[in-house]
């Protein structure tokens, strides 16, 4: 374990937490679901701030459970698949027009963000709507049984790429940063202090804020539920998942320096049935990782006024 990999002891419930957790116990998410962990982080970041959530069709919408119960400890509007950012736009304007402190948060999967909701997210970002958009990325359409999305990485088998996807994952952070919105960040579920700091900042900031989290999905990734956080640790250490933030579309700050470790990458791929099945070669994955880092370094070096 390296210096920038804190242990997770600090995530236990404390007096500082909301009395009602954002994701309540007894919800229907699979064991080891990264999205569930992400919601715990978000819950702590939100603390006492009044929020309204917009969740489109995705696993997180299923987690709300059936009427009259609600898996969420906050008001939620469950929108159509492509519409989270547009419904949230309306909510945010009404809160503003009425002088309310409510923060509106979209909580959306990769399918609802990278694919069907792309135009909606892009437009809300371009309009700089005052909302926090959190994308939990399990790299598949989990809700419908694990089909590929444009967040599916090269080499991953899914129900629609049975021999492994041959396409490169979309660079959603670069896309969102190109909208020159106030804040874009990726957070690691294995780095709670960094993640919480950024979630709190994003919640408080004005205008459009975009936060991305890689969210292990044991069901789709064919991994052990207990390994989810370890997988994220390996993804960060190997350089596969870059943890950074972008202010106003220009100032790039890398929050966790990876080791670019091949051993970590090998373990990351080896621990997931979706990669074992396709037999994707480490070298081809490594090439994509290095290219992403070259691009990211170039952007961070260009930087902006500090």
């Amino acid at each position: 374990m390296s210096a920038n990999e804190p242990i997770l002891g600090g995530m236990a419930q404390t007096a500082a937490d909301r009395s009602t957790p954002l994701l309540r116990p007894g919800n229907s998410n699979c064991g080891g679901c990264g999205m569930s962990v992400g919601l715990q982080f978000l819950s702590r970041a939100i603390a006492g701030t009044p929020v309204q959530l917009v969740i489109p069709a995705c696993c997180a919408a299923v987690a709300a459970g059936p009427f009259p119960t609600s898996g969420y400890g906050a008001p939620v509007f469950s929108s159509t698949f492509a519409s989270a950012a547009a419904v949230a736009t309306g909510l945010a304007h009404v809160a503003r027009l009425n002088g309310e402190k409510t923060r509106v948060v979209c909580f959306v999967g990769d399918g609802g963000t990278y694919d069907i909701g792309m135009a909606t997210v892009s437009a809300a970002a371009e309009r700089d709507e005052d909302l926090l958009y959190v994308c939990y990325d399990n790299e598949i359409y989990g809700n419908t049984g694990g089909q590929r999305s444009s967040a599916t990485p090269r080499g991953a088998t899914t129900t629609t790429t049975p021999r492994g996807s041959e396409l490169e994952k979309k660079d959603i952070l670069a896309i969102m940063a190109a909208h020159r919105v106030p804040y874009v960040a990726s957070i690691s579920l294995a780095h709670p202090d960094d993640a919480l700091r950024k979630l709190r900042f994003a919640l408080d900031a004005k205008g459009f804020r975009f936060v991305h989290m890689l969210a292990p999905c044991p069901t789709g990734w064919k991994s052990e539920p207990a390994d989810s956080i370890e997988l994220i640790r390996l993804a960060v250490r190997s350089g596969l998942y870059a943890v950074y933030e972008v202010f106003e579309g220009s100032r790039v700050v890398i929050n966790v320096e990876p080791e670019h470790s091949d051993a970590a990458l090998e373990r990351y791929l080896g621990m997931q049935g979706r990669f074992r099945k396709s037999g994707v070669e480490l070298a081809s994955v490594r090439a994509g990782v290095e290219r992403s880092w070259r691009e990211l370094r170039a952007r961070s070096a260009l930087g902006g006024p500090g």
Binding site: P75, G90, L97
Partner: protein, 386 residues
Amino acid sequence: MTTELLSANHAAAAAAALAGRANRVGRGFGGGVYPITPQSECMERLCDERFDKGQVVRVESEHSAMAVCIGFSIAGARAFTASSSNGLAYMTENVFTAAMSRLPIVMMAVNRSLGPPWNIWAEHGDTLMLRDAGWVQLYCEDNQEVLDSILTAFRLAEDRRVLLPVMVCQDAFILSHTMTPTDVPSQETVDAFLPPLDLPHRLSDRPRTVGALDGPRETEVPRAEMQRAMDDVPRVYAEVQGAFEATFGRRLADPVVPYRMDDAEIALVSIGTTAATVRAVVDEARARGVRVGGVRIRMFRPFPEDTLRQLLSRCTRVGVLDRDLAPGQGGIVWSEVRPAAPQGSIVQNYIVGLGGGDIRPKDVARILDDLCARERAGKPQFVEVG
């Protein structure tokens, strides 16, 4: 009140702005808007309006336009948008969501042909396609009726017994781009007519999921409630008519508008502006002693079957003019009117004026001649116009 020379597009926008401002004492007003011919002038004018407590959002698609309205509405604000044709088709998913969420959103729809071929002229198939979406539908005959119907629509939609969205429909170009002197009420009278919206299920700070996953029972019950709300619409509409007349001094048209039907044995049924042409032909035929009348269906949802049954009860011949086509079935209006016509009567469908074909009195006169000469009803007939 002032009288202005307005197109129906501008009349609709003026009404929406008045209704929006009336909710400044409530939670405000807003909506997403997106251009499409022949509706664009409505959303353009709305973008030029000023609101103390409102926001018009220029979105990237009709799908998002309705989604933004849903956001405004579920937060308790008054919401409005406008669209047409392919825009309505693109919006459809959220059109259903708005109704199933029981949101009193008002939409002005300009009836235009759905392509291909690309054709921007009048046809009713675009909104008739949405007749099953859970919206109240009103079809207008002139610009004043468009303005009055938008104001009425908010009052009707927001009534606790209804809580359903309302679509106000008008014919492409024939109304949307034709300017007529139109009475525009003052803000004070609209304020009096439209009390602030108080949405009982608005999203507040209480943990609750609106639109959660449900099983059959929890789906059946709210659907049955929608049907009951639709059943209440005619009664609430009649009350709104009373309030409208008391406030604005004008009579608002009925859900079904008969013309010289009292002793009619023959009826020509239509929606939208076709009814004006029908009236001219009825007058001309009456002068020759033909006992014919016209029936305009203004409210298509909920469908006024009982009223139609009464009006048509003495008719032996009913001609239904459809400016729409459901291929494989025929005219949509015809297929809905048929059960309301008397047993044994001849009910003939005429498909006329598709793609904006100019329906002239001589065309309707030919339809009437055909109807009078028939021994029995046949398949839907395509009537060439112009």
